[in-house]
Structure formats: structure tokens, C-alpha cells
Amino acid sequence: MTDPASLRAARLARLRAAMAAAGEDALILTSAGAVRYASGAVPVHGDSSVEAARPFAAVVTPRRLHVLGVDPAFVPSDVAAHVLPRAARGAVAALADLLADARHVGVERLPFALAEGLARALPRATFASADPALHAARAVKTPEEVARLAEAQRLTEAAVRAVLPAIVPGVREVELTGRFLAAAAERGLVACHVEPLWCVLPRTAADAPWTFAGGLPYRELPDTRVIEAGDQVMIDTGMLHEGYLSDVGWTWVAGGEPRAADVVLRARWREILDAVLAVCRPGRTAAELHRAARALMGPARPAPWPVPLYLAHGIGIGGVEPPFVGTDLGLAAEERFVLVPGTVLVLEPYAWEEGLGGYRAEQTVVVTDTGCELLSAPPP
């Protein structure tokens, strides 16, 4: 159930190197992904209220590793497992005891009372964000991580594919969620990370719900809407498999028979994707991916992705990780992110045209020594 020793060792080595580079002598990790990345322990996977009711954490120092609040059966046997009291007073005492000598502590989000108590309990420590160390470590995936990402992707795609015949006129968007989760569970995927989306895309701006200025008409919150023949149904979801996330995004025409407009839109999406893939190689920057997509559209047209989402994002033990391409972080930040072998990205351009509607699909790629390799199957 816990992650294998080789995977854990490679990740922990990367994290400790990143800690050292960030000048931190301890990390307090509180997100499920970060706890698992550092330790291989498997915290409860659920929404934020479930995590609040069953809190967990990991403490990483250059020589020691502790996991708190995770069932010991779900903590690797060579990692120290501790209780994490629910009350802030007890949790502060437990963490402070493990951090006794630390002076520069990187922290993730902490509940208010816990953060306040730690600051009092460790008056000589300074606290900074753990994000720089975490992001640096997780930005490059090991081959073992890439293999897990590919498997998560393959299994999720199979589950989504099993639902496609059910996307027919008369079915309600929300009804497809249960079918998908059942198909996923039959393939061993039981931890749903991202709400499964089945949304009829707007064919005209007038059909679209309110979107922010400058963005293409778009819709991504499913409801009880009844799907009609020919509707362009945007699908997007992510499941957790052995600690790693999938991200499957396709557009499927209700009834399965694409019309001329659907073919045009898919071809445009493909054109954008190909332009981005052409520059997706080591040494290029995230900004170059951004420019490649925009160049096809021309300066007068909106960017080919929904606002305030993105053209691309990272993925790994978290569903949406840096780098981000196409957000308000801007081209300057994207220029600083250089692709290297082991960078894993989800590319998700969106083609939309007034009267024709939309087509959005996602492709996960890993940057290799010479270019990039798709971890996703082509959209059906």
C-alpha cells in the first residue's frame, strides 16, 4: 500500500537537496501530496473537510523523517509514525518536539491555531514557505514517477472510454459521474481527485454562461442539463493511482457522430497542439509554448484556452502543479521556467468559434532527452 523504497528514496533525496538549496533545515508538510512525496505514506484522500477532521503532517529534516496522523499500516515501516492530536495544543507539542533544533523551517499551509502555537513554541525558529523546495524537487519526475503517471493516465482513459457510449441524447450531465466512477473503480481507481466534468460547450457566446472579460466562451460546471443530439460534451477529470494523478480531457459529440463544425474545431485544436509540441523539448521555456499557441491565433484573437485557466500545467503527485503556461503569472515567469528531461506537462488548448462551438482535449507529455513523449492516448 505504501510506495516502494526505490521511489521513496529518489524523491526524498531530491527534496532534501532542494531543502538545502533553500537554506531550510526542516520542513513541515501538510498537504497529502507533499506528505506522500516525502515519505511514501498514504494519507486519507478526500475533500478539505475530511482532511481537517483527520489531520496529518510530515516533518522532514536532513537526517530524519516523521509522519504524523496517518494510520501506521499506511506508513512505510522504516519511517517513524506518530499520532497527531486534533487539538492544536497537542499538535503543537508533537511537532515542536520533532523540530527542536530547527532554525529555518519551511511550512505549507497551517491551520491558524497550529501556526500561532508553533511560533510561540519555537521562538528561535524562522518560518518560510516550503513551496520553493517542494516545487524544485517535484518539477522533475524520475522514470519511476513517469511510469506511474502513464499508468494512471491509461487506466483513467479506459474508464472514460467506457462511459462514451452513455453520452447520448436524454442523459443528464451529472448522471455520467456515477458511471465513470464505477468504471474507474472496476479498474482499481477509487480516489477521485478532480470532480468529473461532463459539460455541454456553448456553440455561441449567447449560449455561454458568464465568463471573464477576454476569455473564450466556456463552461465547466456540470449540472442536471439534459444532453441533446450533437452536443459537444467537454470531459475532464483526474484520478489518483498509486499516488500519481491522471488528467483526461476530451470532447465527445453526443451520439458519437461528429458534424462538420466538430471536425473543423478538432483540426484547429490539433494545429495548436502540434505547434506547442514542436517546441516542447529540453532547453526551451514555458514562454515558448505560450508563444507557439498564440502565434497560430494571431494577436487580435483571444488566447486558445479558457480564462483564468491555462494552456498547460504540470502534473505529478499533485493534479495541478507548476509550471503554469498562460496564466497571470505572465511571460516573464514563463521565461524563467526551462524544460528539462523529466518535466511533465498537461497541454490543454481550447478551440472555439462563434456558431461552431468548442473543442478541448488534454495531452500529457514528458520531456525527454531529445524532445517529448506523449503519456496520453490521442483523444477518441
Binding site: S48, V50, A52, A128, V174
Partner: protein, 355 residues
């Protein structure tokens, strides 16, 4: 007066009232369920507790929360469009915007989380003003629930219970638990559920409950305890049960003992009682727990978290929902289930039939 038929609007009114009572000028929320609770805004749901940068801000007296989102159409219809802004992926830009909002208010600033950058921002944007924990404020605003809110929670409970009942039918010796969970998933959408609250909790219910992985199986003669949760229309429902694969009279006796323990706990679920009273009642009934003895329910699994290992004495509040989850054991077998009730001024009212 807020529209009591709109759960989100009723919650927002309670948040504003709690802020006024506590002298809070600005409330900043980063935790997804807390942010959804206060604002009523829906986003694509993602598992996990989110980041450390708030995406909902509430100013004292404002007609609605201010929401930073990727899904503007998830804002409630009564929220002015000016109160819905695009989520900023640049944390510095997001924090700067929040700083400007805080600076325009008076009084204390309440936050649900703290991160170094947020602490630094507040020191600059609200110098000299108290920065306090939002948790007590949110707990105060959790009730009293309106009839519409209780009905929404009851609908979510029913969806979860249907899923659990379907799953229970699939439990057989040697069957992979993934197949059991698949059976539950098939039914969840019929109740309108869009997202599972968590992966299923699975235990081998021996004298002591042992958490299982979904790839595990249970054997003939054993008992499987499990709990599933769903989110329906922004409200959470959870349902737990135990399925004995054999055991005959012993298993039947445990089911009766569990029902007795649940009734004993329910008898203490009234205004004026505390979480300490529930712990005492559980011990008197010979009941244990797996994770928690009981917890609140609303937009998620909420406080009070009644933990047999705890030492708090949190008052139970009229107008809230509690989920009771005692565990009883005898011989080599245990039984765990859940049952939700509404805490009123008098005796508690069950919100679902006995499992």
C-alpha cells in the same frame, strides 16, 4: 432578513452576524469547504485542503463575499458580478489584492490558515489590528441550520445511504473491495452527487478495526465495515455500515448492541450537553471509535469532532447535525455504522432510519 430557502444566503447571514459579534472586519478563507461555506460559490471540486492563499474574502457588512475563482458561473445568483474576480495564479498579486481589501476594513482580521507570506501581508496591510483564528467564528456560524439546509443535508445523507446499501449487496467473501466501491459509485449520481467526499473508508472489523486498502478482500466469517461520502448540491452526506460474512447470532447481537449504543449517545445530543458528555456516554455503553466517535455535518465533515482520545468539552449546539459513529465489539468481531441526527432544543431527531 435573509432568504431562508437559500442555504448559501442563510449561511452568509450567519457569517456576517458572527463577524459583527466578534468585531471582525475582514474574514479571509483559503480552505475549500470553509470558503464555499461562507461564500456560497461553487468551483470544480478538487480533493485536498488547497493552498495557503485565501480565495474568499468577507468584509463586514458587505452584501456578499468577494470570490476569486476559475468558475464565475458558480457564484450564487445574488452575488454581484463585481464581487467575482478571476483567480490569480500569482500569489503575490492575489495577496496584494487581499491586502487592499483588508486595508479598507476596520477591526480584527480572521483567517483560517496562516502561511508566512500571508502573515507578512497582514502585518503590512493591517498594522496594529488583531489577527485571529477564523475557526471559532465559523463554528459559531455553522448553526442554527435553516429547514432548507437540513433538507439539503438529509438529501445528501440519503444519497450516501443508497450508495452504501448498493455496495453492501456486493460484499462477498473474496470479492475485491474495488468491486464493492464500483457498485456504490453506480448509484451515487441518481441522488445528484457530483463528487465523492472521500475515497471509501474500509475496515476489517475484528476486535480492533483494521483499515483496509481498496485492493484488499475480506474472507468468509469476517466483518467488513465501511463508510462512503458524497457531495450533493454543496452539502455532504456520509453513511457507514458493517456487513458480516457469517457470524450468525454473534453478528446479530452486535447489531443490536450498536443500535443501543447509538441510542445512548443520541440521548445526550441536546442543548447544554458537551462532547465530554458524549465520550462519557460512549464509555458507559461500551462503545469505541474508528477515527471519530461523532462529528458535525454540513458543507462537509465539520466540527465538533468528538474524539474518545480528546479532552475537550465543546458544547453541542441546537440547530446542527451530528453523525454518530460508535463501534461495538464482542469476541473477535466488531460492528461500526453511522446514523445522523438533528440536535434541537429538546430531544434529538434522527435524520435517517437505523442502518
Amino acid at each position: 432578513m435573509p432568504d431562508a430557502s437559500d442555504p448559501a444566503r442563510a449561511r452568509y447571514a450567519r457569517v456576517q452576524a458572527a463577524m459583527a459579534r466578534r468585531g471582525v472586519g475582514a474574514l479571509l478563507l483559503a480552505t475549500p469547504h470553509a470558503a464555499a461555506f461562507a461564500s456560497g460559490a461553487r468551483r470544480v471540486q478538487v480533493a485536498g485542503s488547497g493552498g495557503s492563499v485565501p480565495w474568499v474574502a468577507v468584509a463586514a457588512g458587505a452584501p456578499s463575499a468577494l470570490v476569486f475563482t476559475t468558475d464565475p458561473d458558480g457564484a450564487p445568483p445574488w452575488m454581484p458580478r463585481a464581487a467575482v474576480e478571476p483567480l490569480r495564479w500569482d500569489p503575490d498579486a492575489q495577496l496584494a489584492r487581499l491586502g487592499a481589501l483588508v486595508a479598507a476594513t476596520d477591526g480584527a482580521v480572521a483567517c483560517d490558515v496562516v502561511a508566512p507570506a500571508l502573515a507578512a501581508l497582514l502585518a503590512a496591510a493591517a498594522p496594529g489590528r488583531p489577527v485571529i483564528d477564523a475557526a471559532p467564528l465559523l463554528a459559531e456560524a455553522a448553526g442554527p441550520l435553516t429547514d432548507a439546509e437540513v433538507a439539503a443535508i438529509a438529501a445528501a445523507l440519503a444519497a450516501a445511504r443508497r450508495a452504501v446499501a448498493a455496495a453492501a449487496e456486493a460484499v462477498r467473501p473474496g470479492v475485491a473491495l474495488t468491486a464493492v466501491l464500483a457498485r456504490a459509485a453506480r448509484t451515487m449520481s441518481t441522488g445528484g452527487a457530483r463528487f465523492p467526499l472521500a475515497e471509501g473508508f474500509l475496515w476489517r472489523a475484528r476486535r480492533r478495526l483494521e483499515r483496509l486498502a481498496p485492493t484488499d478482500t475480506v474472507d468468509a466469517g469476517e466483518t467488513l465495515a465501511f463508510e462512503l461520502g458524497v457531495v450533493v448540491a454543496g452539502h455532504a452526506g456520509v453513511a457507514g455500515t458493517s456487513v458480516a460474512l457469517g457470524g450468525g447470532a454473534e453478528a446479530a447481537a452486535l447489531r443490536r448492541a450498536w443500535a443501543d449504543a447509538a441510542e445512548a449517545l443520541a440521548a445526550h445530543c441536546r442543548t447544554g450537553a458537551t462532547t465530554a458528555d458524549l465520550r462519557e456516554a460512549a464509555r458507559a455503553a461500551g462503545a469505541g471509535q474508528a477515527d471519530l466517535l461523532a462529528h458535525g455535518l454540513g458543507v462537509g465533515v465539520l466540527p465538533p469532532w468528538v474524539d474518545l482520545d480528546g479532552d475537550d468539552a465543546t458544547p453541542l449546539r441546537a440547530g446542527t447535525v451530528l453523525v454518530l459513529a460508535p463501534v461495538v465489539a464482542s469476541g473477535r468481531r466488531a460492528h461500526r455504522a453511522t446514523r445522523a441526527l438533528f440536535v434541537g432544543d429538546g430531544a434529538a431527531r434522527w435524520l435517517e432510519a437505523a442502518p
